[in-house]
């Protein structure tokens, strides 16, 4: 039906979009892996980060890629504070409470953004927004290519952080055995907050990588988080490698099914995979046995 070149280009487009999906899933899977909670505020926090990038661009003409340097530490601090002073204390150590607290946070953030920015869909216009990189016969969108590179770089950095640093080791220790980690003198509340902060920092980078080629409105995060949940389940809950590979794969599926079935039906592919994974391999590709 389509020539292999067109299919190949759709696959590449999908990989590039999928990389940003992966970055969003990375934050979600990290928080789940360590805190063992599903963060329902993930989508709203992504929207908030996208609006932060948007506002910096509109108000101070900060380039979206430069704003990574500002928004990322800001969102790390925000995430740290949220876990340390809001989610942690409000949950009283009960996982069900955490679910409700994060759900409440998401409603609060979304409606706050709605009040400030109203429901309009907005974009930022950067001169390189429609630049292309020529690779042989292929014309690849420059912002998306940067998105792919940025996402992979963040995933590698995060992996190095987890493996090489003491804090990374502490995070892994807490994830594996909380009581044991406490007995070794690790401040669990601090580690929880750092992990939540890292999750938010991933979102901030994803937001900055998305904005040159994407729009933002107060509900935009939800669409991404649905996909991110699918990726986390596909890759295995709590697995960094799983999130990365799952993200790339889901992006590819979305793009190819969008090409074959049309834009309106393209997302069907993603959710078919979600159902199949739940039926056939509930632990995901890289997940540990429950």
């Amino acid at each position: 039906m389509y020539s292999p070149a067109i299919i190949f280009e759709a696959v590449l487009n999908g990989l590039m979009t999928g990389a940003v999906y992966a970055l969003i899933a990375l934050g979600l899977t990290l928080v789940y892996g360590v805190l063992h909670i599903i963060n329902f505020a993930h989508g709203a926090l992504l929207t908030a980060a996208m609006f932060a990038v948007f506002a910096l661009h509109v108000a101070f003409r900060v380039d979206p890629y430069v704003s990574i340097l500002i928004v990322t530490p800001l969102f790390f601090a925000l995430g740290y504070g949220l876990q340390r002073f809001v989610i942690g204390p409000a949950s009283h150590g009960d996982d069900q409470n955490i679910l409700l607290v994060t759900l409440g946070l998401s409603i609060l953030i979304e409606n706050g953004l709605l009040a400030i920015f109203r429901s309009d869909t907005r974009t930022i216009d950067v001169p390189y927004g429609f630049n292309v990189v020529e690779v042989g016969p292929l014309l690849l969108s420059q912002p998306k290519l940067i998105g792919l590179a940025g996402s992979v770089a963040v995933a590698i950095l995060l992996w190095l952080f987890m493996v090489r640093t003491d804090t990374g080791k502490a995070i892994r220790a807490v994830a594996k055995e909380r009581l044991g980690a406490t007995l070794m003198g690790i401040d669990v509340a601090h580690i929880y907050a750092i992990t939540f902060g890292l999750g938010c920092a991933c979102l901030a980078v994803a937001a900055a990588l998305l904005m040159p080629s994407f729009y933002v409105n107060p509900r935009v995060g939800n669409a991404f988080v649905l996909v991110a949940f699918t990726i986390v389940v596909l890759g295995g809950m709590g697995s960094i490698a799983g999130a990365l590979i799952g993200g790339l794969f889901i992006g590819m599926v979305e793009s190819v099914s969008g090409l074959l079935l049309g834009e309106s039906l393209g997302q069907i592919g993603i959710f078919l995979i979600f159902i199949l994974v739940l039926l056939l391999r509930p632990t995901g590709l890289f997940g540990a046995k429950a």
Partner: protein, 410 residues
């Protein structure tokens, strides 16, 4: 939500203040005039000024404001002893449910009629809600033929519907193609998957083959769409002579820019009722992507003297020019004429006056109005083309101000 502040805040604020100052001066200067003031005629202006269609709603509102100001400055409704028209603005928030709620509110405010709606789904829902109160509803843009085919006595449309526009679009396209030596044979239709785009694509898909065009594929996309690279890829694979898009502003701009990015250059982009191809914002912001795009759409009659005055008023308000402005201007003028003839605020009498209306003081390329089942039978579209950063009329020849550039690709 009723909101009476004008939309273009910067200039409008100044205007509002000026208006206030003038009103204040008038009170001091002539208290007798104030005492003689007759109650106003409330006019509901319904436009989507937030959400996906916010830009179009803003244009529509501006057109209505220009007309209201002109009518009031000229002494209001004479048959109602100079009663002024008072705008009661309602935000349709880009969805039919919100529009229906707003109609309820406008009815509660006691408006004599409602003008606007913009998108077909909004017009359908809002006119139906208004019909429950026998409230006259003048559709500004909404082109779905369903709007005037439901037998609603309260609903009137000044502009043309789908059937008329597609017939004209196909007829003009055939002429254009024949004049150029028939360079175009294959077509890809791209449309938004709502009522407007789907209906149009369906009509084009049945009409075009009758005139020797081959429709290679019909590609639907949602509104809002975040990415057009797959659509562009499919167009590139099919390599059609012509691309016929029917989408709202954001999506068409994305498509045109993505096609430019992917170096897809068909012999022509022939839009039908497109949200962007006849919009100066698109032409100014992305001149390369916009150049030579043709459109079959609503447009003002450049021969009418009043057109220039309305264009100037829009420019003074800091707005670029779009077809919604003359359409809404003309719709409000049509309503004012009907109220004048009815010499009443009574809804039934206004509906009767609209039904028998032969109004010709509008700036559209139509003759005097003649409504049959609510549709103005003389309404029709024109063909425009972006040429050298300007929007020119290329069809019909009777008032074209440029020759078509076709085929684009040498």
């Amino acid at each position: 939500m009723t909101n009476k502040t004008p939309i273009l805040s910067g200039d409008a604020d100044r205007r509002t203040i000026l208006k206030g100052a003038l009103a204040g001066a008038a009170i001091i200067a002539s208290p007798a005039v104030l005492r003689a003031q007759t109650p106003t005629v409330k006019v509901g202006i319904l436009q989507p000024v937030t959400g996906a269609l916010a830009q179009d709603g803003g244009f529509g509102r501006l057109g209505a404001e220009i007309a209201l100001k002109e009518i009031n400055d000229a002494g209001g409704i004479k048959s109602l002893s100079g009663a002024k028209l008072e705008m009661v603005f309602a935000d349709a928030r880009s969805n039919p449910e919100a529009a229906t709620q707003e109609v309820e509110k406008l009815n509660g405010e006691g408006v004599a009629a409602i003008v606007g709606g913009f998108a077909s789904p909004i017009c359908l829902a809002a006119s139906q809600a208004a019909s429950r109160y026998d409230l006259p509803y003048i559709v500004d843009v909404g082109v779905s033929d369903q709007i005037v085919n439901r037998g609603l006595k309260n609903t009137f449309r000044l502009g043309p519907g789908f059937g008329t526009v597609t017939t004209a679009a196909v007829t003009n396209l055939v002429k254009l193609n024949e004049a150029a030596g028939k360079p175009a044979k294959t077509v890809v239709l791209v449309h938004e998957d709502g009522l407007f785009g789907s209906g149009l694509a369906k009509l084009m898909a049945t009409e075009l083959p009758k005139h020797g065009f081959e429709v290679l594929e019909t590609i639907a996309h949602p509104t809002p769409s975040r990415d057009m690279s797959n659509v562009a890829l499919r167009i590139r694979a099919l390599n059609p002579d012509l691309v016929i898009p029917s989408s709202y502003y954001g999506e068409f701009v994305l498509l045109a820019r993505t096609m430019q990015q992917q170096r897809i250059r068909p012999k022509g982009i022939y839009a039908v009722l497109n949200g962007a191809a006849s919009n100066f914002r698109f032409v100014k912001e992305f001149p390369d992507a916009a150049e030579n795009v043709m459109d079959c759409n609503h447009w003002h009659d450049p021969r009418k003297a009043k057109s220039a005055a309305v264009m100037k008023a829009a420019a003074d308000a800091g707005s670029v020019w779009a077809y919604n402005i003359p359409l809404n201007y003309s719709c409000v003028k049509l309503l004012a004429d009907a109220v004048e003839k009815a010499a009443s605020r009574d809804r039934a009498k206004i509906i009767e006056a609209l039904t028998n209306s032969t109004f010709e003081d509008h700036i559209m390329p139509y003759g005097p109005t003649k409504f049959v089942n609510g549709q103005n039978t003389g309404a029709g579209p024109v063909n425009t083309q972006v040429q050298g950063g300007d929007i020119k009329v290329i069809f019909p020849e009777s008032f074209a101000n440029a020759k078509p550039v076709f085929p684009v690709r040498a």
